[in-house]
């Protein structure tokens, strides 16, 4: 593994402000300032890449890889899984109601508003949690957050109903900000035997090659889940977070737990304005 620690970030003042704010608190940067800082840092690294391309992750830095992605997405090999997700989404509950009835707009153009802060429960609510709330409200058994055959498939379809929607995540009020800051803190905290934070690779070293892989930028990382790795292996965002933590030799947080929800909240805010697109191919 290539040592990454001795890297000099391109704009050390901005980074210092970010890291200080997240680790030492009290918060000095608003979420909007954070988002601007991230984008400024990435723009210095990738001056020719338009912001909307960030949803393609590391692909945005390789025409060859992007071209394979585009070709595979013309008719993705996992189309059958998306169709099975649709069947799940459309199947009526025992009371005759459906998922569409639980969501504004019948579930269209809503996924970009997730996660949101719920003041009543003082918690971050992900799209997956509202799927489960819908099941609960209709007297059905909830899905497990890491079950590919239920939660995976249904979100693989349901998020396609928001394709093209601009991410629009809100952090309003002190309590919501506290959740956002929790996610931000996790993003900058070094973990595991390798002692890397999310930021080590995906902020400070984005665009560099680690082993054979180009490190993706964190802006745009939450816009396209689940992904189908290798064309057939469904991975939710939280499964991907967990895999990342395992690779750092850290004990991963549970899928659907408070920590990863907060991380998703923070990262989704960073992607505000970018287009949603589900579900996509990754190698």
């Amino acid at each position: 593994m290539i040592p990454l620690r001795r890297t000099n970030p391109p704009n050390s003042l901005l980074v210092a402000a970010l890291v200080t704010a997240s680790l030492a608190g009290p918060a000095v940067a608003s979420p909007e300032q954070d988002r601007a800082t991230f984008i400024t840092l990435y723009r210095e690294k990738f001056p020719s890449v338009p912001l909307e391309n960030y949803v393609n992750g590391a692909l945005m830095l390789s025409g060859d890889a992007q071209s394979q992605f585009d070709s595979i997405m013309e008719f993705p090999p996992f189309q059958g899984d998306i169709d099975r997700g649709r069947t799940l989404w459309e199947a009526p509950f025992r009371n005759g109601k459906t998922f569409a009835g639980c969501f504004a707009n019948g579930g269209h153009n809503i996924a970009g508003n997730y996660p949101y802060y719920d003041a009543v429960g003082d918690k971050v609510v992900t799209f997956e949690m509202d799927i489960n709330r819908c099941l609960r409200d209709n007297g059905e058994a909830e899905y497990k957050f890491d079950d590919k055959a239920t939660m995976g498939l249904i979100t693989a379809y349901a998020r396609t109903l928001s394709d093209g929607m601009a991410v629009d995540v809100h952090v309003e009020g002190a309590a919501a900000l506290a959740k956002y800051e929790q996610g931000k803190k996790l993003y900058f905290t070094r973990i595991g035997q390798y002692n890397f934070a999310c930021a080590s690779c995906h902020l400070f070293n984005a665009g560099k090659i680690l082993r054979t892989e180009i490190l993706s930028a964190s802006v745009g990382q939450t816009t396209h889940w689940p992904v189908f790795r290798g064309g057939d292996n469904l991975n939710t965002l939280h499964m991907r977070y967990r895999r990342c933590m395992e690779q750092m030799r850290a004990s991963p947080f549970p899928a659907g737990g408070e920590e990863l929800n907060s991380l998703e909240y923070f990262q989704s805010y960073l992607s505000n304005g970018l287009p949603m697109r589900a579900s996509v191919y990754r190698k």
Partner: protein, 163 residues
């Protein structure tokens, strides 16, 4: 648009007969899922597909000599994102293209696919193939009894982390 359910035995036999009788055979079915069609090739070319080295596979399809041609256009990745799913696009500008062959030179069996092209089809095919290791993708076009070839080296890496 609809998908017909899998067939029973009788249409399976008829399918085999259709294949066995080759291009002269025009089938007419009273019922069943299978649309009547004629086949352009006789049978699945077992000898060619089973060949473990490129030379033997080329011999099996009768390509004793091949002509390199920029009229055969091959679009494939330089570095395959994933060897299990490598997009390959072929366009032939050779007049009267009859058949397009796709090989991955270092696969356990190099011959991947044969496409017989009738007059009504553009000499264009896009598909996805598996590659076991870095190797040349080799496309042969058969036209008027001659074989034309284009190749491209494709690097296959095994992802470490994956992004």
């Amino acid at each position: 648009m609809k998908t017909q359910p899998p067939s029973g035995k009788s249409s399976r036999r008829e399918f085999s007969r259709a294949l066995a009788l080759g291009s002269a055979y025009v089938a007419t079915f009273a019922a069943g899922w299978l649309r009547p069609f004629q086949s352009l090739a006789a049978e699945w070319n077992k000898t060619a597909f089973d060949a473990k080295v490129l030379a033997d596979a080329l011999k099996s399809i009768g390509a004793a000599s091949v002509i390199e041609s920029d009229q055969v256009q091959l679009k494939a990745p330089e570095i395959a994102e994933n060897g299990a799913i490598v997009p390959v696009e072929i366009t032939s500008r050779i007049p009267d293209t009859q058949t397009i062959y796709v090989f991955a030179d270092k696969n356990p069996q190099p011959l991947v696919a044969i496409f017989d092209i009738a007059a009504g089809l553009e000499p264009f095919i896009s598909t996805r193939i598996k590659m076991g290791e870095s190797s040349k993708i080799r496309v042969l076009v058969k036209a008027a009894g001659k074989f034309y070839v284009a190749t491209q080296e494709v690097k296959v890496t095994i992802g470490g982390c994956g992004g």
